[in-house]
């Protein structure tokens, strides 16, 4: 075992994701505490290596099957690199790749895994992780004392600035062609989202509606409020999945990232995948009948009154 911390540096078409820097900064802190090195793994985007300057070394691998994200190619390449480097801790984000890879890597390497991590620190030779579970209603404090551990971190948990610190990492280019043949998964195309009827990312005020709205028919009610406020209607994922509002209105991990001056949330519980899309809203007001809803941990103002009453009265108040 080493005391190294290894990070998967994720990118989209060569552009590194913000979460990669968040992980790197935390990896730096932990590796320094344990006297190890920070290793970044970069699959399929060799030109991005120079940006990973907070790492001590970058393992970069190029191969036709790594040109875009392929779950199986990534898994095989990573497992090979991890067997060779044998880090103490491997960090992923809870992105799609993180959901595919963290569990698989932990099985292959017989490493402990903690998912939905929001805090992580060194405690002597061990790591102490705090993870969000039960939709954010509880946190779990978990001790990682084994020789190998894996963490999957919710994006936005650590500041990215620490991961941008300068340095000149040594770059090791590895050829993993021998493990990348006969893949059972092929990526045939990657489709970008279509532009929608409204651009919710440009709005200064958003009324955002969640599953608490109950049915498609009730959407009218909040539409009336949104109209009165002159704000577009946004939504959480279940509302979009049910077909109550178009995909272009979805806020969150798999939808849009919005930065309004005011974000009014009606019947949204505050799942991390939703919060990821609105973390930079200036003023957050949440209406949710459950006083223990995690949304109140991020909102500035909250009410546990019924959203139907609030929508009604608020429409009246702004029309007055």
């Amino acid at each position: 075992m080493s005391n190294d911390v290894l990070v998967l540096a994720e990118h989209q078409e060569g552009r590194l994701l913000e979460t990669s820097f968040e992980l790197l900064g935390k990896a730096r802190e932990l590796a320094d505490a344990w006297g190890g090195k920070v290793v970044a793994v970069l699959l399929g985007a060799p030109d991005a290596a120079a940006e990973l300057s907070a790492a001590d070394s970058v393992v970069s691998c190029e191969h036709p099957s790594l040109a875009g994200y392929n779950p199986e190619a990534y898994e095989r390449a990573l497992v090979e690199i991890l067997r060779e480097r044998d880090p103490r801790l491997v960090l992923f984000s809870t992105t799609t790749a993180g959901l595919d890879l963290s569990g698989a890597v932990s099985v292959h390497l017989r490493a402990a895994l903690v998912s939905y991590v929001v805090a992580l620190s060194a405690e002597g030779d061990n790591a102490l992780a705090t993870a969000r579970i039960y939709g954010g209603k509880l946190l779990a404090e978990v001790e990682l004392s084994g020789p190998r551990s894996v963490g999957a971190v919710i994006s936005g948990s650590f500041p990215a600035a620490f991961g941008r610190a300068g340095g000149t990492p040594e770059v090791a280019r590895v050829d993993l062609g021998h493990v990348l043949g006969d893949l059972r998964i092929t990526v045939t195309s990657v489709v970008a989202p279509e532009a929608g009827d409204v651009d919710i990312t440009a709005a200064e005020l958003l009324v955002s509606v969640g599953r608490g709205i109950g049915s498609k028919d009730n959407i009218e009610l909040v539409e009336e409020l949104a109209d009165a406020l002159g704000a577009p209607l946004a939504a959480s994922r279940p509302v979009v999945d049910q077909g109550w509002l178009p995909k272009s209105r979805q806020v969150g991990k798999s939808g849009h990232t919005v930065k309004p001056k005011v974000y009014l949330m009606l019947g949204i519980s505050g799942a991390p995948e939703h919060l990821e899309g609105m973390a930079d809203a200036e003023l957050v007001i949440a209406c949710n009948t459950d006083p223990a809803a995690p949304v109140f941990d991020v909102a500035d103002y909250g009410t546990t009154l019924d959203l139907f009453d609030i929508a009604d009265e608020l429409t009246r108040a702004v029309k007055a």
């Binding site: 392929n70 779950p71 199986e72 799609t96 959901l99 890879l101 963290s102 569990g103 698989a104 932990s106 099985v107 017989r110 903690v114 998912s115 992780a129 993870a131 039960y134 939709g135 509880l138 779990a140 404090e141 978990v142 084994g146 020789p147 998964i185 092929t186 045939t188 195309s189 990657v190 489709v191 970008a192 989202p193 005020l205 406020l229 994922r237 049910q242 979805q250 991990k253 939808g255 849009h256 990232t257 001056k261 459950d290 995690p294 109140f296 941990d297 991020v298 103002y301 909250g302 009410t303 546990t304 009154l305 019924d306 609030i310 009604d312 009265e313 608020l314 108040a317 702004v318 007055a320």
Partner: protein, 257 residues
Amino acid sequence: MRVVVALKQIPDLVEELELASGGTDVDREFLKFVLNEFDDQALEEALCLKESAGGEVTVVAFDEPDADRTLYTALAKGADRAVKLVGVGEGWLSGHRRAGLLASFLGNAAFDLVLTGVQAADDLDGQLPALLGARAGLPHVSVVVRVELDGPRAKVSQELGGGTVAEEEVQLPAVLGIQTARQAPRYVSISRYREIQQAGGIEEVEIQSSADEPDTYRLRRLFPPDTAGHAEMLTGTPAEVAERIAELIRSKGLVKS
């Protein structure tokens, strides 16, 4: 096409979660348990696949609170077989153990495809699709929003985030983590449910826990998030609270009048 759908019961998050003594698990005695919503999506996608391509859907659940209700509901919706895995004991089952037990069940089953939810609210040590795929040595893809069958392969749509979707071809057998089915999960009438329940039809399968478990971690405690960052709560009648919200919005210069 033989599809296995793995279903998991989780505490209903609408309810208050009390901690059990010891502080490392929720108090299961008084909680209401429901089917993990993403597993419900996986079941729906499996039923749609059966309707479009033919085949058989087997649902499998551990002997967790209210698992029978979930299994009968699945049968009532159109699943062909319902299996309850018994002999594991009570309490929270880690993702790694769950995956190991399911992999041993699959070792004795004939199947082409395993569908399960992308995640569950109590996945502390990882999500089932990848854990199971790696355990069973099968290709696996998570965050899937569409599955189509094409001979010995499945064509799947995997969301990469921000609305970008990758189209992939996956050799069968495979494990897929379903985020959203092609249509909203169907409902069953109470009369249909009763009819199915009276007919019985849940098969119980004794499952052996393998000693070969990977290293795990130590859960020190569960605790509610601290209230320091908690919202300032607005109280009063709906009209009063609405007026306060209107003022807040106005204070940002966003509503005239």
